[in-house]
Symmetry: C3
Subunit: 188 residues, 3 copies
């Protein structure tokens, strides 16, 4: 008997918001992340969902657990990237990073700038830790979709390069890119 | 009797140049900054003007005084952002920063690149310190105008987010952006 | 009798690759760098060619020698800028840098993004050390050409500003930019 979860990949979904984490309002970040990922990923996958306050130590510890213990190959955070004093997601992300990939932040700001001039206020970035890629996304569901549409094409090959699992995606939904030498036969 | 300066906002205008500060030539940076701001801002405002040499400690101390003592909510610097050994404005700015906002530097270089290929040599950035936003601008009056035209749309909302005063601008001169929830009724 | 090498400029060409340096395959990076530079530069120039493994200390020491001992005014590196664990060129470059020029990395990623979405995975940058500009380029010959085409216009003036020699280029091959005040009469 085949266990369909046997080769499931682990993905962390982290919503960072004082108000959502204290129940003042309902979190919209994680539902937006899931709604984006579900039609895209062909691999079976397991989401680890966390809603945490804008506390640098709490965010960092959450990311460490998701990478080191839960073996996530991809973590998407949402919220906490602006200039306000409570916005500490980029700091918390860099605190536990091995590598920063500045091209993600540059492209995400550039994409968002097509919609709002205040896109330049975002300090969002992406980093690697072990075999995991961690990407900071904006807090608004609409902006989550716009930025994921903009950068996800590079995500599967990035995860290949850092030794993570081979992500497969539905090419009718999004075009991802790998050099020919990195391609494997599609899952059947 | 109403004091028209009662709610004036404080803005620092800092020209950084060995030659202008020693009187070898007349400073053109501060006049260019004022000429740009005057038609834009509706709030009454008071400018604190400083012409300083390309000395890291002097620049940093000038910025600290303008934020911590003069209570500026916005500081515009001009000059000292290139790769030459005497260009130390970005270092002096980061020395006293709480947060760096990399999107400003990225967009300013991208805007200037439409005019000159050497725009990529600028190391200009923007940072926050307390309730103040500090932006490094180029030295040339023409380039000051081009870059302010490019980034100022995001400035008022940034100052809102860091707890500064509510900046109002003449929408016939420049379009600024705030999310609807951040808008207040216009000054009459 | 005139020595045509009397005023030759020194340029470092550094290919960073475990496999090329160990002889597993032939280096294609340095030939691509030379093929790009030869039609562009009018100055007589001497290339210092190094093929080194992806070892942070080895790369840093190679760059130090090329700047401090060989008096290079320009060093082009190729390879080692991705997110893989062995990719350490940007770290090694920043280790020995005096100044980082973020506009180079931003523009190179932006240029490469026109060809492949995975361009955002590159962490390439440019820095100065003394009178030398050091630029990290991608590893693929095609991408080397694309990014040099994109950024070289700003290179000669950058080297002027940091006190290096006056680079002259064939304007039929590439347009470089200097402000009028920085122009000298052409070499005859």
């Amino acid at each position: 008997m085949i266990d369909p979860k046997a080769d499931a990949i682990q993905i962390g979904l982290v919503s960072i918001s004082d108000r959502a984490s204290s129940g003042i309002y309902e979190d919209e970040g994680i539902p937006a992340l899931k709604a984006w990922l579900e039609p895209v990923l062909i691999n079976p996958w397991q989401g680890f969902e966390k809603v945490v306050p804008d506390e640098r130590q709490v965010i960092s510890q959450t990311l460490i657990n998701l990478v080191d213990t839960q073996q996530c190959c991809l973590i998407l955070t949402t919220g906490g990237t602006g200039p306000a004093p409570r916005d500490v997601t980029p700091e918390a992300t860099k605190d536990i990073a091995e590598r920063e990939l500045p091209g993600f932040g540059e492209l995400m700001r550039s994409v968002s700038l097509q919609y709002v001039p205040t896109a330049i206020l975002s300090r969002q970035t992406a980093v690697t830790r072990g075999h995991c890629l961690i990407i900071n996304l904006p807090g608004q569901p609409k902006a989550i979709k716009e930025t994921l549409d903009g950068v996800f094409s590079a995500v599967p090959y990035c995860i290949d390069l850092i030794g993570g699992p081979y992500l497969e995606t539905d090419e009718n939904v999004i075009q991802v890119f790998r050099p020919k030498a990195a391609l494997r036969p599609p899952r059947t």
